[in-house]
C-alpha cells in the first residue's frame, strides 16, 4: 500500500526528538507516517516496527440480542490506510467478518459511512485515524434506532427529506418550450452551500433539538434542502414551500445550537440556511 511505503521511507530518520514537543495533532492534520515503535503490551508485528491502535466499536446483534457492547480491536497502523474506514474494512477482512457498517464510495461523496467517531459525527472515509496511543471509539449516529452494529435506521430521515418536496415545481411552462429553464449565474450562486449536501445525516443527528423531537422537527438537513428549493429562482412555489414548513415544530424547534455546522463533513452550514428561512418567514 502506498501509504505504508511512504511511511517506511520517512521513518529512516529518527523523529523521536520531536515527540515530546509535538502537540496532540488535530484530527484533520494527523499524518500517521512516523516510525515510532510503541511499547504495546500485546507485542508488535513480526519483528518490525508496528504501531498498534485500539478501536472500540459499538456492537449489537439483533440475532443474538443482549445489551450493546463496545468491542476492542487492535490494528497495526503501518499496515492500514489513513482513514477510519480503512481500519474498519481491515477489521472486517482480517479479524471479525461479522462487523457490520455501511460504505460505498470511500471518497466522501455518497454519505453512507456516516458514524460517530470519538464523539463527533463524520464520514468514516474522510476522518483520519488519530495518531497516538489513545483509543478511538466508534459508535453509530446518535439517537438513531440501530439495526445492527453501526447501521442505523434512516427511514425517518429520508421521509422528512421527501416531505419538503425536493423537486422543481412550476406553475407556468418554460419560456422556450422543450428547452431548459434559464438561470443567471448570480441566481445559481445562491444555491452554493446547499446543493453539495449528500444527505449523510451527520448534521441532523448532531442536533440536540432533533434528538428530542425526531418525528416532528425536520432537522438541519431537510431544512437545508427546503432552503435550496426556496432560493431556487426557477421554482415558482416559494410561497407554498414557506407556508408548508411555517410550523411550531417543523422549523421553529431550531434554537441555533449550530452543532450542525460543526458536524457537516462537507463544510456546509445548515444553521445559516435555517436562519435564512426564518428571515423569509417574517
Amino acid at each position: 500500500m502506498a501509504s505504508g511505503l511512504i511511511g517506511r521511507l520517512v521513518g529512516t530518520k529518527p523523529s523521536r526528538l520531536t515527540t515530546a514537543a509535538r502537540l496532540m495533532p488535530a484530527r484533520w492534520t494527523s499524518t500517521g507516517a512516523e516510525a515510532e515503535t510503541k511499547a504495546s503490551s500485546g507485542g508488535g508485528g513480526a519483528g518490525k516496527d508496528s504501531k498498534l491502535k485500539t478501536f472500540q466499536i459499538y456492537r449489537w446483534n439483533p440475532d443474538n440480542p443482549g445489551k450493546p457492547e463496545l468491542q476492542d480491536y487492535q490494528i497495526d497502523l503501518k499496515d492500514c490506510g489513513p482513514m477510519v474506514l480503512d481500519a474498519l474494512i481491515k477489521i472486517k477482512n482480517e479479524m471479525d467478518p461479522s462487523l457490520t457498517f455501511r460504505r460505498s464510495c470511500r471518497e466522501g461523496i455518497c454519505g453512507s459511512c456516516a458514524m460517530n467517531i470519538d464523539g463527533c459525527n463524520g464520514l468514516a472515509c474522510l476522518t483520519k485515524i488519530q495518531d497516538g496511543a489513545s483509543e478511538t471509539t466508534i459508535t453509530p449516529l446518535p439517537h438513531m434506532f440501530v439495526i445492527k452494529d453501526l447501521v442505523v435506521d434512516m427511514t425517518n430521515f429520508y421521509n422528512q427529506y421527501k416531505s419538503i418536496e425536493p423537486w422543481l415545481k412550476r406553475k407556468t411552462p418554460p419560456s422556450v418550450p422543450g428547452k431548459e429553464i434559464l438561470q443567471s449565474k448570480k441566481d445559481r450562486a445562491k444555491l452554493d452551500g446547499m446543493y453539495e449536501c449528500i444527505l449523510c445525516a451527520c448534521c441532523s443527528t448532531s442536533c440536540p433539538s432533533y434528538w428530542w423531537n425526531p418525528e416532528s422537527y425536520l432537522g438541519p438537513a431537510a431544512l437545508l434542502h427546503a432552503n435550496r428549493w426556496i432560493s431556487d429562482s426557477r421554482d415558482e412555489y416559494t410561497k407554498e414551500r414557506l407556508e408548508a414548513i411555517d410550523d411550531e415544530f417543523k422549523l421553529y424547534r431550531c434554537h441555533t445550537i449550530l452543532n450542525c455546522a460543526r458536524a457537516c463533513p462537507k463544510g456546509l452550514n445548515p444553521g445559516k440556511q435555517i436562519t435564512h428561512i426564518k428571515q423569509l418567514q417574517r
Binding site: 439483533p62 440480542p65 445489551k67 450493546p68 427511514t155
Partner: protein, 90 residues
C-alpha cells in the same frame, strides 16, 4: 391472556398483530391462510423466546414488523413466505 393491565408495549405488539391479520384479509384466500400462519408462528415463537424486559430487542422487532406490514398492505404484494435458515459452523 387475561393479564391485569396491558403495558404500552404489549398493546403495540397486539395492534401490530391485528394489523397483520387485517392486511391478510385483503389478500386471496389461500395466501391469506399462509400469511396468518406465518405471522402467528412468528409472534408466538417470539413471545416465548424473547425476555419481557428486553425492551431494545422488542422495539427492534416492532419496527421491523411495522415496515413489513407497510409493505404487505400495498396491493402489489400478494403473499408472505418464510425460509428457515440454520446457522452452520464451517
Amino acid at each position: 391472556m387475561g393479564a391485569a393491565k396491558l403495558s404500552g408495549m404489549q398493546k403495540q405488539v397486539l395492534s401490530l398483530y391485528r394489523g397483520f391479520l387485517r392486511a391478510a384479509r385483503s389478500k386471496p384466500t389461500e395466501d391469506r391462510k399462509r400469511i396468518e400462519s406465518i405471522v402467528s408462528t412468528e409472534f408466538r415463537h417470539n413471545s416465548k423466546e424473547v425476555d419481557r424486559k428486553n425492551f431494545q430487542y422488542i422495539e427492534y422487532l416492532l419496527r421491523l414488523g411495522t415496515k413489513q406490514l407497510d409493505q404487505l398492505k400495498s396491493p402489489d404484494i400478494v403473499s408472505l413466505s418464510s425460509v428457515k435458515v440454520v446457522a452452520s459452523k464451517t
